[in-house]
Every structure is written in C-alpha cells, then in structure tokens.
C-alpha cells in the first residue's frame, strides 16, 4: 500500500528530504511554518523582520538538513536556527544598568517600592489590551537584549521547559533561569506605569 507523504512522521519525512525529495521538503515547510513564523514574530515584533527570518530559517534547513542529527527533535533544531538567526541580526547590547540591578532584591518596605507594587489594575486582561498597551509591550520587549528576549519568548510564550530552552540556546539551566527572571522583572517594570494608570 502506498503511504501518503503527508502522513509520514518527522523522521521519515526528513529522511526523504535528505535524499533530495523536494515534495517532502515542501511538506516539512507546511508542517512547521506556523511554528517558525510565530516564534520569529514574537522575537522581532516586526512583520518584515519576521518574514525575513522565516525565509532565512527554511533556506538554512534546506541547505543544512544533512547536518541534522535525527536522534534529536527536529523542532529543537528549528528553534535553534530561528534563535541564531535573530541573535546574529541584532548586535548584542551590553546589559544596561537597570537589567543588572534587577538581581538585587529591593527593600520591600521602602516607599518607592510600595508605590511600584501598589495598584496593578485587576481588570480582565481582555479589557485591558488596547493599542497603547500593545505599543508599550512591543517597545518594552524590544528593549530587552536579544539573548534575554529569546529566553523569555521560549519559556513563557512558546511554553518550552527550562531544559528544552537550555538545549535550544546551548545555555546552562541556571543561565536560563537567571535570564528569564531578569526579563520578567524588566518587562513588568516597563509596563508598570500603564498598569497603574
């Protein structure tokens, strides 16, 4: 009985791509393009850059599929390519003083910190999401250095585990946790003024 390529699992499909099967490659693109697009867009928050990243990623896959070690997950390899693509395009920025300062616990009883903690709007998220907030969120996430942003996107938006994130980015788990922590606190800090208005 002839097996339709659409029903092949990743390993079988990739084996065909490695043998130069173009149709198998197009199926692989269709299977993973939403993943690549979604991840690229969340990293860039810019349609044009995400389109560029989508194309560069699959061109890399096409050219380098022979290097893919089939013992690991294809999606992990794909995430690594998108992340490297994004990190290469953006010059690494030195951590600014705010990000570094987030490692130090604030004095929770001080007046300034009390102001920072008080009054986050408890309205439902759906009713809060307006143009101004979306723009502020886009600006805030783009202020994060890309090697921090990629950890935040993988862990919190793509729901990858700390272990998967560490594998994708070739980082230690403590490094993933530290970057995630700084990123979350940084973004919270950046949204604070809108959330208490």
């Amino acid at each position: 009985m002839k097996i339709s390529p659409e029903t092949l699992n990743d390993a079988a499909l990739i084996a065909k791509v490695k043998n130069g099967d173009e149709r198998a490659f197009t199926l692989l693109v269709k299977r993973y393009e939403q993943t690549v697009w979604g991840f690229a867009f969340k990293l860039c928050r810019n349609q044009e850059k995400a389109e560029e990243s989508y194309q560069d990623t699959f061109i890399n896959v096409y050219r380098k599929i022979g290097q893919f070690d089939s013992r690991s997950k294809f999606s992990t390899w794909l995430y690594t390519i998108v992340a490297n693509n994004c990190l290469m395009k953006r010059r690494k920025r030195k951590l600014d003083s705010l990000l570094e300062s987030l490692d130090v616990a604030p004095d929770m009883e001080s007046e300034d910190v009390q102001k920072q903690l008080a009054g986050w709007d408890d309205s439902p998220i759906e009713t809060m999401m307006n143009k101004e907030l979306r723009e502020q969120m886009d600006a805030a996430i783009q202020e994060l250095p890309s090697d921090y942003r990629v950890v935040f996107v993988l862990r919190d938006l793509e729901d990858k585990t700390a272990e998967e994130t560490a594998t994708i980015l070739k980082l230690s788990i403590p490094a993933v946790k530290s970057r995630l922590r700084r990123s979350r606190i940084f973004l919270r800090h950046k949204l604070h003024s809108l959330m208490t208005a």
């Binding site: 149709r23 693109v29 194309q55 616990a105 903690l117 999401m129 938006l157 979350r184 919270r188 604070h192």
Partner: protein, 95 residues
C-alpha cells in the same frame, strides 16, 4: 527580624522578602514542590508585597501570551520556494 504592616500575624518570617525575591520567578512555575518552594509559597501567602509583585509578574507574562501575532502572510511560502527554486509541492518529485 522585624515584623511589618505588610505581613500577617500568621506569617512567620522564616524567609526574608529578599530571599523570596531571588526565587520569585521560579514560583511562577507552580509545579515546583520542594521544601524550599513550599516555604516560599507560605511566605508569599502571608506577605502583601511579595504577593503583589508575584501577581503583577504573572499578569505581565499573561499579557504577552495573549498579545496577538498576525497570521503568516500567504506570499511568504511562495517567495521561499521561488528563492530555492521549488514548485511548492505542485510538482510531485517524490521518489
């Protein structure tokens, strides 16, 4: 350690807010259930400030989660296949 107004009477200071702050983000991942995690959770439950900070961190993450991304433009796949000179599956080259 002094007790402050932001802590309930039941909240015994077995941990400082500073120590909890160091682990606050781990606490967003509620599957953690170690002894130290239970102590952190107990602290947060009785501490208005740490609780407010944790809630606002969770809200920050939720906002980004629901922040919509546009759909993949249809032209992207065609452009990709044009660049690498593929037919986009129209021509069956399966061996």
């Amino acid at each position: 350690m002094k007790r402050t107004n932001s802590h309930t009477m039941a909240h015994i200071h077995t941990l400082s807010c500073g120590k909890v702050y160091e682990h606050l983000c781990d606490n967003l991942d509620s599957q953690l259930d170690s002894e130290s995690c239970r102590r952190i959770k107990a602290h947060i439950k009785g501490c208005k400030n740490c609780s407010a900070l944790l809630d606002s961190l969770k809200k920050t993450v939720t906002l980004y989660k629901v922040h919509p991304a546009p759909k993949l433009p249809g032209k992207c796949r065609q452009e990709l296949f044009a660049v690498i000179k593929l037919s986009g599956g129209k021509k069956n080259t399966t061996r």
